[in-house]
Point group: C2
Chain length 86, copies 2
Amino acid sequence: MPRRARVVVDVMLKPEILDPQGQAVAAALPKLGFGGVVEVRQGKRFELTLDGEVTEDQLAQIRRIAETLLANPVIEDFAVRLEEPA
Amino acid sequence: MPRRARVVVDVMLKPEILDPQGQAVAAALPKLGFGGVVEVRQGKRFELTLDGEVTEDQLAQIRRIAETLLANPVIEDFAVRLEEPA
C-alpha cells in the first residue's frame, strides 16, 4: 500500500493587517462568559495529501504553491510544515 | 511584563463533507506543474491570544467556544492546542 503524507499550510493575515473576522469573534467572547482572550486572528489552514514520501524538492514546490495560490503575500504570511503521521 | 499565551483552534470540514474550495485548489495544482497532490482540504485556523498562563479550565472553555462559535459541529471537526512559545 502506498504511503501518504500530509503537508499543512497555515495562512494568516500579517500582524499589521486589520482582521475584522477575528475582531468579531473576540467581541463575542465576553458575551459567552469568556474574558481572558486579548486577541483573535482568523486565517486559513490547507491540508495537502501527497502520494508517497515528501522530498525537500516537493516541500519547496509547495512553498511556491502557497505563495502563488494559497496566500496573498502582500497581506498574508504562510507557514508550510510536514505533519507527522499519527 | 505579563506573559501571553497562544491557543490555536483548527477547524476542518469533516472528511465525509464535500469541500469545493479544496477541490478547486487541487484542480489548479497540475496547471502549476505540481502533480503529486492527491487531495486538498481547506479549513480555518484561529489564533487566540490569552493573558497569562493557560489553565486546564481555560482550555476546556476554549473547547466550548470552538464548538459554539468557531466550528459547526454538524459538518466540521476542530482541534484545540496550546502553542509552545518560540
